[in-house]
Assembly symmetry: C3
Homo-oligomer: 342 residues x 3
Amino acid sequence: MPVSLGELAVRFGCELRGDPDLAVERVATLATAGPDAVAFVANPKYRAQLATTRAAAVIVDAATAQATGRPVLIAANPYATYARIAAVLHPAPRFAPGAHPTAWIAPLAQVDGSAHIGAHVSIGEGVQVGPRVVIGPGCVIEDGCELAADVRLVARVTVCRGTRIGARTLVQPGAVLGADGFGFAPERGTWVKVPQLGRTLIGEDVEIGANTTIDRGAIGDTVIEDGVKLDNQIQIGHNVRIGAHSALAGCVGVSGSVTIGKRCQLGGAVGVAGHLTICDDVAVTGYSLVSHSITEPGVYSSGMPVIAAQDWRRAVARLHRLDRLAGRVRTIEQQLGKEQDD
Amino acid sequence: MPVSLGELAVRFGCELRGDPDLAVERVATLATAGPDAVAFVANPKYRAQLATTRAAAVIVDAATAQATGRPVLIAANPYATYARIAAVLHPAPRFAPGAHPTAWIAPLAQVDGSAHIGAHVSIGEGVQVGPRVVIGPGCVIEDGCELAADVRLVARVTVCRGTRIGARTLVQPGAVLGADGFGFAPERGTWVKVPQLGRTLIGEDVEIGANTTIDRGAIGDTVIEDGVKLDNQIQIGHNVRIGAHSALAGCVGVSGSVTIGKRCQLGGAVGVAGHLTICDDVAVTGYSLVSHSITEPGVYSSGMPVIAAQDWRRAVARLHRLDRLAGRVRTIEQQLGKEQDD
Amino acid sequence: MPVSLGELAVRFGCELRGDPDLAVERVATLATAGPDAVAFVANPKYRAQLATTRAAAVIVDAATAQATGRPVLIAANPYATYARIAAVLHPAPRFAPGAHPTAWIAPLAQVDGSAHIGAHVSIGEGVQVGPRVVIGPGCVIEDGCELAADVRLVARVTVCRGTRIGARTLVQPGAVLGADGFGFAPERGTWVKVPQLGRTLIGEDVEIGANTTIDRGAIGDTVIEDGVKLDNQIQIGHNVRIGAHSALAGCVGVSGSVTIGKRCQLGGAVGVAGHLTICDDVAVTGYSLVSHSITEPGVYSSGMPVIAAQDWRRAVARLHRLDRLAGRVRTIEQQLGKEQDD
């Protein structure tokens, strides 16, 4: 849907340098944009491409605007403004109200008339589905769940009994919310299953990635607070709490009973051991293991970068013999009569 | 369903210190329990909460019982006893026998009359479904599978052709049992698919987590023995065998043709390289890589704990130059005329 | 289906040493083969079993043939020849053309008459399904997707809007192709969703494992080139490109905007950080982290092998104090008046 640059400037509070009547139809990268597109620069390293882009206008910050003569939409936060303009030019698909003929809805479920229920969906007893909710094909909603207004489950999402999902939360395909946590009591070399009786409570404006799993609580609840963003293939154990606006990248694993603060960022495949607490505003870089609680905001790491395989084998062998090397240094120090702290 | 403390004591072989006629209705944590609930102490660090809990009774061991005047159910294994009492007070949902009208069952499948077949399930030719089996919504059972008595597939589980599942095994949503293993023969820079002809054999009393995948064998079978517990998001390659009562935490990856012994425990995200053998009674802590066979019971590790990112960068740089540091120590030793073993 | 050794030899260009009229019915391992089976030796360490196998013939290379008197089919690449013979003796199940009565196909979808559409499948508007495509039970194909000839989706696969899949590509259960990438613009401690507008383009002869996820592009497309093989539980971020005939083992995570070359091999659970480039013909061993671009073909590693837990704890403590140890060595060198390069 074409929108004029002037309208975009007004709507998103940008200063426009260019023709307010020029209509644009899409967003694009600087390199691929034509005269019907807006592009953006959020990273100074792409500034050089400003000279050659054919974009109708480029969303930039004030500093970048000064460095170019191109038509620009000047924004305090160009990437966020780009995101909003993209959503206007490329609106999400619309879904007609009503239930697909192949969907199955239990007699005592309460489904708002404006909700869209897709093909082969099944909705259990006592489920409450709010206004404008979209439940895509193949989703399973077990008994007693509550989906607030504007929730969207894209397709093939499983929502286990009693789970609550807050308004505007978006769940990608294959996610499983509220499966049993991993709780077993050891007894004479075997395991006794501990009933998983808690719920899974998902806040508002949460996004949950494809094939991500969030277990229900064992006794208390598992809680994902408002605005949390979870990428694909993440595993969240029972009784975890993730603070508002934290973002977890793909393949992260969070063990049971962990509490993660607000505005934390965990890189890809980070692991968090059980029963730990991570305070607000912690970042952990990818492929790191959090094996103790973190009480100070900051950036933490333990991901080991690749080197040539034969060099790595040697480094590992050295690491495994570090005690030996330290002992040799100690011996030398003793020989020289100058021992230092270990 | 309310049960008296006396009945719980008799049924689970506990000594009761308290009113045998007092009825309880639920389990709860020490902190949240009211007078209608039983709580438990399995970890001494929670003993302090015994003084203030409002629980009707607390399941404890004999030592903890001596340290408190509260009403208690004394058990040899409080956590296992708690698990059993929780299952009585909070029974699993019941499922009516019969097939949902939207389910599809192939003409030559044999489904016991007491089994429950949920919405949008499809069951292939020659499948055998035993007594009291529960197949939840959206499951796919391909041709020739066998599900023994009391198996439960929660929802959206895929069971590929020829897979066998033993009695009482529980499979969480999104799991895939019996997909093709990853087998390709290299040929002139491309790959020729190796047909995956084996089966997936799952024992009795197994639990399989949400979105976990277990591949079928290439020629022989993939075997999960009785009582094995698999958490969410685990990947089990073709021709793996996992010994009875082993427990694997979330995100573990087991490569093809690995044999894991009985009563092993693998922490979260542990990886096991292909064609290895791990003996009985091995524990591997989270985020470790098993890259050689393990022949001695014990605890093994290689997970690297996070530290501040700038310290980590320095440690990695040092690790990559360890050969250099060892060489400097060697030089000093030579200079001093006292070389030590490397 | 029985086939004579002579026919196999002709069909796959092998030299036969044995009875050309002898019919075989199956493939088997050397240890389990009976007189109706062919086995193979691709790894010299299995040669010893040649003496005792009951196989009708064994597929071997010329060198192995010389070392045995057994009936053999001599092939330049025994494993690839085994794969092809196995596919002849154990043909994949056949699927009848037509749509299952429980499938739902949108009015404007174009489904070739030879395609098989399984139970509870839903196919959106504008989808194009080519000849002999097999879409197994429970799959969801959103609007505007294209599936070329002979594609097979085994079961419960989700293909999001606009995804294109090339001929003969095989997708295992639970895979999700084309979900939204993980794109959010930070703004005052919260996140603004960046619309994910690109597509997912899958080449020909690709295999995609169970519960693997491949995100759509943010603006441009995510591209999986011809012949790529992806194992289970892999996560591919938005705007990634994977070069032809590369193979990624289970649980690999590839962050957004990564480019991987042709014929690369990534071991299990390898991680690749965002915006990197890996050149052609790179191998990365399992559990390694690629955190910088790789421009030279070769083998790279950073996976840390397990040792006894108490030894590992000591090694980690030493690693965290390596700066200290290096400082002590420096002090000694200064004392001796012979400083060396760090």
